[in-house]
Structures are given as C-alpha cells and as structure tokens.
C-alpha cells in the first residue's frame, strides 16, 4: 500500500537520555529502508520545548511519531506523556513508549495515560533491530498517522 | 521473550461485515501464539461485551480490541469514546480497523485516543498481511497491560 505519508520522510522524535541507546536506535533506524528524520531530545523539558516549538526549537517540525523513554531527567517521561495527551494540538501524535522497564505498573500507567503502545527495549541487539523494524513497519506503513 | 505461562490472547473484534470477520479469523488461526477471537456485530454488543452484561457475563476482558468505525446500533466512534473514558477499559489498546480513509475519521479517532488507525486493504492477501502485522506487533513486540 502506497500512500501519502510514505512520500516524504517520516519525522520521528526520540526522547531518550542514554547516548548509547540513542546511537543504537539511530543505527537500527538506519538499517531500515524507510526514509526518516530522527530528532532527539534528551530530557522531558526539552521534549516539551521541542514539541511546543519553544526557544531554539521554533523551527522544529511536528513529529509524525514520538518514541518516548520513561526515565528521563528533569521531566519524567510519564509526565511528558500525560501533558502531551492532554494537549489538544499534540495529543494525536502517536507515542511509542520505548523503555527498558518491564514493570507492570509502568505499562498500565502509560496505557492509562493514552500511550499508543508500550515497548520494552530488548536486551538482545538483534531483537532490538527486529523491534525497531517492527515499529517502523507497523507505524510507518500499516497505520494511518494523523494528518497535520 | 519468556512465554512460560502464556494464556491465550483475547481479541475482541467489533465488525459487522461477515466477510471481514472470516478473514480475520483465518489470519489469526495461523498465528503462532494461542489466541481467542471474540466477535460482536454492533456497537451495543461491543459495550455489553466489555461491561460483561447480560449474555456476556462470563466473557473475558479483551487484551486488544479491533474496532470498526461504522457499526449498526452504536457507532464505532461512540464505542471508542466510551472505552477511552472508562477507567477500567481505557488501557485496552484499540486498533481502529476500518474501511474509511477519511481524514476526519483519522483525526477523530486519534483525538478519542485510539491507539492506532488502520485502513482495511481491499485486497484479501493484503488484508491478511495487515492482520498478521497487527498480530506480530501487538502480540509479540508490544507489551500489553496486564489485567
């Protein structure tokens, strides 16, 4: 299925504080054929600023999808999630929680906050690749993202 | 992935088109993990199923809801809204699986906190492929909330 959203690169916002993980994610995304623009912010405040196009992010583009880690400095990922999903301009953006936590409380809480889905970062890199691939496949090809 | 104690995944399909129901069922059958498909044909039944009322008293809580938008009796959008407002039901991932490609439908759905919106392909093979992808993603990759 070819559709409009495919014609331009997908804008992904990665909210992640661990540089190693950032790099990994970037590499994993590179492996994929899909064209995408990866933006990264390293804490919760930056995330909000980016999305609200504040300060240095005035020119930032609204992402098509957000990969959100939970344990972030300054502003916790859960807070970010909650704020975003209450913001009428921003709530539509699908948020994929991408975190190392397997804690059930985290899973439940984030779904309650209307996270679109929750993914635990696999320890195994191959798995990680698979996961990222899967996410891309699903969200960027099958799913209809909300139009701007 | 540790599946030491996997119980079958409960899927609620809210779909009035019997053909689509059949296809979905076939696609799910092939899935490697145990799953159980429950089907209701309209919005009212969907709500009844989720609230476990009447004939649905003993029905399990679904792990995932595949929800069509255009439904008789109660519209899929209403159903979505009700689900996502209900504290006990809102955690359940709702995959909108519909014919409509309308922007407003997409927007409305995401506004109402649908977890994702998928358009049913017309091609059967594609349809099956879509279902399989949904399966793979939501049942293997994604962590579903535990009841």
């Amino acid at each position: 299925m070819i559709d409009n959203s495919m014609l331009r690169p997908v804008d992904i916002l990665l909210v992640e504080d661990n540089p190693a993980d950032i790099r990994l994610t970037r590499e994993a995304l590179k492996e994929n054929k899909m064209a995408n623009n990866l933006s990264v912010v390293v804490d919760g405040i930056e995330a909000m600023n980016y999305l609200r196009k504040k300060g240095k992010y005035a020119k930032a583009t609204k992402p098509d999808i957000i990969f959100l880690d939970l344990n972030l400095p300054k502003k916790d990922g859960r807070e970010v999630l909650a704020e975003l999903k209450q913001d009428k301009d921003l709530k539509r953006i699908p948020i994929v929680i991408l975190t190392s936590s397997q804690a059930e409380e985290d899973i439940l809480k984030t779904y309650n906050l209307h996270a679109n889905c929750y993914i635990t970062k696999p320890v195994d890199f191959d798995q990680f690749l698979k996961v990222v691939q899967s996410v891309e496949d699903f969200w960027l090809t099958i799913v209809k993202l909300p139009p701007d | 992935m540790n599946n030491y104690s996997q119980r079958p995944i409960e899927i609620l399909l809210v779909e009035d088109n019997p053909g689509d129901v059949r296809l979905t069922r076939e696609a799910l059958k092939e899935y490697k993990m145990a799953n159980k498909l429950h089907v209701v044909g309209d919005g009212e039944q969907a709500i009844a199923f989720l609230h476990k009322s009447g004939a649905y008293a003993n029905k399990p809580r679904p792990d995932v809801i595949l929800l069509d938008l255009n439904l008789p009796k109660k519209d899929g959008r209403e159903v979505l809204a009700e689900i996502k407002e209900d504290d006990l039901l809102k955690q359940i991932p709702v995959v909108i699986l519909t014919m409509s490609q309308l922007e407003e439908d997409i927007l409305t759905s995401y506004d109402l906190h649908a977890n994702c919106y998928i358009t049913k392909p017309l091609d059967i093979a594609q349809f099956i492929h879509v279902v399989k992808t949904i399966e793979d993603f939501w049942f293997s990759i994604v962590k579903l909330p535990v009841k």
């Binding site: 190392s100 990680f128 | 030491y4």
Partner: protein, 809 residues
C-alpha cells in the same frame, strides 16, 4: 259387791213397804232399773220402757231423766250397740228366769255386771254393778300372764345364755343357750351344782363382785371363765343380779352370760397389734376422727423429737405438720377416700422441720364406719437430699456442657442461688496468674455496688483479708449466719453467707459464694454448695488449662507469625534484590551485547577470522548473562509473584507447556505423550513453568541415537498426586541427584547443552511452594523420570497470610 237378788214378787214388795224399798233403792250403790218390755207382733223384744231408775243407775249409765222413756229413745243407737240387751231382757221378762251377764256399756264406757229378773211377766228388773276396775285388773293379769309367758319364752329361746341359781349353787332356771355354753344338757343341769362351773382361780375374784352386788344391790358385770363339761375353759362375761324374797334376803342369782372367746381373741390380736404398733420402727400414730392423737409408737415419738408418747397423745395431729392447713387438707382427703399417701413438711417438738413421707388410712369398724385415722410416716429428709443431690448433679452436668463460658457461669450461679435460696451469689475462677476472675455476679451486686470500679478481675495482691480471700488461701469453707458489721461504702449488706473455694486435685481453681438466705444456712446447705463446687471444679480446671494453652498457643502463634514475617521479608528482599540486580545489570549488559552485535553486523567480513571469534564469544557471553539474569528473576519471584491456587485441569497445563515448546519439539522431532491427567489445585502459571521446564529438559538431554520421547503421567495417593515426566534421554548418575536442584549447578560442560542451570532450582522452589516434593529416578543411558507431588488439600490460607503480611511489610 254382792249381788242382791230382789224377789220376783215385786208387786207385793212394792205394794207393802214401798217406802223402805224406795229408800233402799235410792241409796244402793248398785244401779236399779224397773222396766216394761215391749214386744212386737212376732213377739220379739224390741224395746223397753224405763218405769223406775235409781240414782245409782243414773251415775253408772250416765242416763238422766229417762223414766217413762223408751230405751231406744233414751239411749241412742242402743239397738245397734248393745242389741244383746234386748234379747236377754226379753227373755227374762217373758220367761221369768233371772239371768246375769257382763256388758261393756259403750254409752258410758263402763263394764257393767247386769242381773236381770222378772217379778211380773213382761216386766223386768235390772240391777247394774260397775265392774270396770275388776275387768281391767283381770285384763292386766291376763296381759302380764301373757307377758311373763312371752318373757319366759324369749329367755328360753334366746341365744343369750341365761341362768338362775340359788345361793348354794343349785340351778333353778336356765335356757338352751346356757346349756350349750357349759356343755351340759338340760337334764344334767337339774341337780347340778353351778359352783362347779367356776374354776378355782376365779372364785376369789368373783367373790369380790358378788359381795359388791349384795351390798349395793346394783347389778355387776365381770369376766371370768367356766369349765365346760369336756373340761375346756371358756372365757365369759357375766351380768349378774340378785332376786330377793319378801324380806329382802337374797334368794337367787340370775345372770346373763356371754361367751367372749372371740372377743378375747380379738383383744389378744389387738394387743399384738398394739405391740407391733408400739415396737414398729416405722413411726406410726392413730388419731381419732376429731383429729386428736390417740396412740403413737416410740418410733414416732423419737422421730418427731418428743420424749414420751404421753406428750403426743391428746395433741392435735396437725401439730406434727409444719403447715396445719396442709394437715387438715390431708386428713380431709384421707377421710373422703379412705387413704392418703404423700410427702409433707413435718414439724418436730423443737419447731425444726423435716421432710416426711406418710401413708394415712381410715380404720373402719365392723359396720364400715370410720373410727380412727392410722398414719405411718417416715423421715425422708435424707432421701430427699439424695434426690436433690441427684437433681443438682444432672443439672450441673448439663450446664457444664455449655460452650459459652459466660452462659455457663451464669447458669451455675443461677442454680446455686436457687438451690441455696440465696439472694446474692458470686462465682469465679482463678486464672493462671492467680487472680480471681469473676465472670458472673448476681445482677443485684452489679447494680448495687456503686463502687466506681466494678472490677471483674481481682489480682492476687489486691485480695486483702476478706472472707473469700481467706477461704481461697486457707482452702476451707467459711460461713456465717451473723450479719457483717462494717460494710464498705457502696456495697450491699450481707446477713448470712457461705464462701467455698473450689478445689481440684488439691489446687484452688475457683470460688463460689452465696449470701442472704432468709433463714440460717445449714450444714446441708454447705454440703450442697461443696458438692456443686466439686462438680464444677474439673471444668474450671479444664478451662484454666485451656486458657493456659490458649495463651501458650497465642505466644507460639505470635512467634510463628514473627518467623513468617521474617521469611516473607526475606523473600521480598530476595526478590527486590534480584529485581534491582537484574535491572541494573541488564542495562550495561545490553550495551555490551548490542554494540558487539552492531560491530558484528557492520564489520562482518571486514574483519579477520579471529575478530569474528572474539565477537562471537563476547556476544555469547552477553546472551548467557541475559538468560541467567532472567532466570534469577524468575527464581526470586516464585513466592512473591505466586498466585492463589486454583482448581486446574492438568491436561490444559500440559497443552500450554507443549504449545510453548512447539519450536523445540518440532526441531528435535520430539514426541510428547501423556496418560489421563487429573484436575488439581495449583498455581497454573507456575506449574506450567515446571512442566515446561521438565519437558524441555527431557527433550534437550536426548540421546543421539533416538528421537526424544517424553511421557507425562499421574498417580493418585491418599493425600497427594504424583506427576511424572519420563524421558528416554541420557540419564543422570545417582550421585548427582541432589545437586541437580541446586541453583547454578551444572553437570555437563558448558556449551554442550544450552541452559542456565537454574531451571530445576526454580522448579523445586515452585513445587515447595505447593507443599510438594520433587525428585527423580534415572538410569544413565536409558532415561530419567522426574517426579513431583502436589498435596490434595492445598489451601490458599498460607498465601492469604503471606498476602496479608506482604501488605504489612
């Protein structure tokens, strides 16, 4: 009264000295009438005319002024009443032959002798004499002759022996009955000496009576004996009197004799009866119909506390009853129905009472009339007490079965108060600190004791010297019928009381007190209370033991709880540790593993073979580490993530496990079989884990020459199920059995068989959580069978306790 016959020549006489005759007639006592006879045509005399009557005639007949009158005129009804007069006078007047006769002259109610003569034909003269007196005398004489004849006859025929004798003993008159009495015939008694009849020994005595008779002239009555003809003696009663002659000298004795053999016999019987009565050990009395005691035996005297029978004789029967009204009722009943039997309260001489049981019956005489009331009574106080005791025992026995302590104590106290007729009571037991616990007091004490602190527990050191405290300490009954003088403020006034310690096997286990009976407490009361105390003692002791045990058990439970808490805590700590460890370990591990892999991907083929090897080893290490961490986490979560046990069909469990192992099964071409499997109570997820693990091992450790086969079966015992997982793998040497289940112990070199080596340790932990056991049997080269047992009656209580404690932690 001489008959004066007048000459028939009346005319002559009359004519001659008329005046002389006239005077004679006028003064005669006899009545004279000169009459003319009237005949009818048939020459039947029908009437006469009175020509002359003298005054005497008038007074004798009562007829006045009848001269010149016809008889029929003068005397009305004479023809009917005295018709024979006409005949006689007619005959005399016509024949001239004088006649005399007697006539009961009704008109004047006199008996008259009439002499009639006829001086002249058709005329007669009648002379009347009043013979009424003579007549009645004759009548009397005749009557008395009849009478004495009758009497004589009566005497003769009478069954009452009668005899008369002269003073010298010669018999004069005697009847048949007498003859029979003495055994002689009438003839034999003719010249009989009656003195022979009296035996020698009686003579003196009889003489006394006979002298009395002579002197007083009054008849005498006495008893004696006769010797009969056949020599036998017959007791008789004699009624004797004297007949005197004209000079007043005693002439004959006459007597009436009664054979009193029967009477004597009865008297003897009565005497015997009397003796029996007197000497009977059953108290007996006889009272007359007015209710006064006429007779009483020694036993009665003694039982009723008197000194002698005399005190009782003449007393009202009802005085022996505590309630005289009751006595009267009883007597009434006895009199109505002839018999009464029952219990009553008897009153002794000193006024004390006891419970008696009596039978009263009317004594009737020969005619069936009641003459006395006979009573046989018994003091049944002892029996009553025994009965009472029995009743109390039964009641208390019942009460002691009551489970609820408060109820039981209340009931016992109620019985105590009732039995001892007391107003107040207290009943308590000693707890194992020696304090007196009073779970029950009579309501009045609760309400009346305005002591601000109505304590129900009295610790030993607060007891002081009150009566009950002393009773307990000194282990003896203390009682008093004297009012206590100093009453503490707010307490009730005690007039009489008994305090009894309840003792079991030498130890005081409780206390019972009663107070304020209306009358004095008796020794019986004390005994009764002690009896109750003894009955209750074992129960109190048992409860005391139970309390003690309960306390000990509480302590033990607390200790157990403490231990359990510690255990829980340590499990939790373990899990937390494991979680944290694994989480924190995982991140660096992920980094290592991921980047090495990235290296591999990116530079594969661009590095030399050594580099490839290095990378492989590094990755492998990371992967294994990951698996280890996961298994550690699983291990730590067995208890803390365990779910409640549910009834699960084991076949479902097997199906799930098999399903999860699908890839491994397919890759190894393994065949999994099973026997029918039961439905048992388990943690589904965990047992699935176990089964999966065991089957996986069964497949993993297969022999090269054969494809792996795993068979699952179940065996039922009395209280557990044993599941077995049998494989045809490489087997395990018995020396290693124990090590298998220890964490991390591996029996094979690293790399040959994948796996962390924790699997079985996790299985063991899971099975232990189910209170089961896990073990194996194995034959190296043939295969192994792993067994695990699950008890049948798995309860979820442990997990509930765990859950509760978990919350507390």
């Amino acid at each position: 009264m001489e008959n004066s016959n007048i000459d028939s020549d009346a005319e002559g006489l009359l004519g001659e000295s008329n005046e002389h005759f006239h005077d004679l007639f006028e003064n005669m006592l006899e009545g004279v009438a000169f009459c003319q006879m009237i005949f009818d045509d048939a020459e039947n005399p029908v009437d006469w005319i009175y020509l002359y009557v003298n005054p005497a005639f008038g007074s004798l007949t009562g007829l006045e002024n009848i001269v010149g009158m016809h008889a029929t005129e003068a005397i009305s009804g004479i023809q009917e009443s005295s018709s024979e007069l006409f005949e006689v006078f007619g005959r005399v007047a016509s024949t001239g032959q004088p006649e005399s006769f007697e006539i009961d002259f009704k008109p004047s109610s006199l008996w008259l002798k009439v002499s009639a003569s006829s001086p002249v034909k058709n005329y007669f003269v009648a002379i009347f004499e009043n013979i009424t007196g003579r007549k009645s005398m004759e009548e009397e004489l005749r009557k008395s002759e009849d009478h004495s004849m009758m009497l004589a006859d009566l005497l003769e025929k009478s069954s009452q022996p009668f005899a008369m004798r002269f003073l010298d003993g010669k018999m004069s008159i005697y009847n048949d009955a007498f003859c029979k009495l003495v055994g002689y015939t009438k003839e034999e008694l003719v010249d009989f000496d009656a003195l022979q009849l009296t035996p020698l020994e009686w003579v003196e005595r009889e003489k006394v009576f006979l002298d009395e008779l002579k002197d007083s002239g009054q008849s005498v009555q006495y008893e004696k004996e006769y010797i009969r003809k056949d020599g036998s003696r017959v007791p008789i009663e004699v009624f004797v009197n004297l007949i005197r002659d004209d000079a007043g000298q005693p002439k004959q004795y006459y007597g009436f004799y009664t054979d009193i053999t029967e009477r004597k016999r009865m008297e003897q019987e009565l005497q015997l009866k009397d003796f029996a009565f007197k000497s009977s050990i059953t108290p007996e009395t006889i009272a007359n119909m007015e209710g006064f005691i006429t007779n009483v035996n020694d036993s009665f005297v003694k039982t009723w506390g008197y000194e002698s029978a005399d005190e009782l004789i003449g007393m009202r029967m009802s005085m022996c009853h505590a309630d005289p009204n009751e006595s009267n009722m009883v007597i009434e009943t006895a009199e109505k129905s002839g018999f009464w039997s029952g219990e009553y309260i008897a009153k002794k001489k000193d006024g004390s009472t006891f419970i008696a049981m009596a039978q009263k019956s009317l004594v009737l005489n020969k005619d069936g009339n009641p003459i006395a009331l006979y009573t046989a009574a018994m003091d049944i106080t002892d029996r009553k007490r025994a009965e009472e005791e029995l009743r109390i025992r039964a009641k208390i026995g019942e009460i002691l079965l009551i489970e609820n302590d408060e109820e039981m104590f209340d009931e016992v106290l109620r019985i105590v108060l009732e039995t001892l007729e007391s107003e107040y009571g207290v009943f308590g037991y000693l707890d194992e600190d020696g304090a007196l616990v009073e779970p029950t007091m009579t309501r009045q004490i609760w309400d009346k004791c305005q002591v601000p602190d109505k304590r129900f527990i009295f610790p030993r050191d607060t007891w002081g010297n009150s009566t009950w405290a002393r009773a307990i300490r000194e282990k003896r009954t203390i009682y008093s019928n004297i009012s206590s003088e100093n009453i503490p403020e707010g307490h009730i006034g005690i007039t009489r009381h008994i305090s009894i310690p309840i003792i079991h096997q030498g130890n005081v286990v409780g206390l019972v007190q009663v107070a304020n009976k209306i009358t004095d407490y008796t020794t019986d009361d004390i005994e009764m209370l002690e009896l109750i105390g003894n009955m209750v003692a074992p129960i109190l002791d048992a409860r005391l033991q139970r309390d003690r045990e309960g306390k000990m058990r509480e302590i033990a439970e607390n200790q157990l709880k403490g231990v359990l808490q510690n255990l829980m805590r340590s499990n939790r700590d373990l899990e937390q540790f494991a979680y944290v460890a694994s989480h924190d370990l995982q991140e660096p591990l992920r980094m290592v593993s991921s980047y090495v892999k990235l290296l591999e991907r990116r530079y594969k083929g661009n590095l030399d073979a050594d580099a490839d090897d290095f990378i492989n080893f590094a990755v492998d290490g990371a992967v294994r580490m990951q698996a280890l961490i996961n298994d550690l986490l699983l291990f730590s979560r067995v208890h803390t993530r365990g779910k409640e046990f549910e009834v699960i069909n084991f076949e479902d469990v097997l199906a799930t496990a098999t399903n999860n192992l699908r890839m491994q099964i397919d890759e190894n071409e393994a065949i999994i079989t099973h026997d029918p499997l039961p439905t048992i109570m388990i943690d589904r997820a965990q047992i699935t884990q176990v089964l999966q693990n065991l089957i996986s091992n069964g497949i993993k450790f297969h022999r090269d020459e054969e494809s792996p086969r795993v068979h699952v079966s179940a065996k039922e015992n009395d209280d557990e199920w044993t599941i077995s997982v049998q494989d045809n793998g490489i087997g395990i040497e018995s020396q290693y059995y124990d090590r298998l289940f220890i964490i991390f112990q591996r029996l094979n070199e690293k790399g040959k068989y994948p796996g962390t080596g924790i699997g079985l340790a996790i299985c063991k932990r899971i099975i232990e959580r189910h209170d089961g056991r896990i073990w194996l049997e194995s034959e190296p080269g043939t295969g192994s069978t792993f067994y695990f047992s699950i008890p049948k009656n798995l309860k979820n209580t442990t997990s509930t306790i765990e859950a509760n404690l978990l919350e507390q932690l």
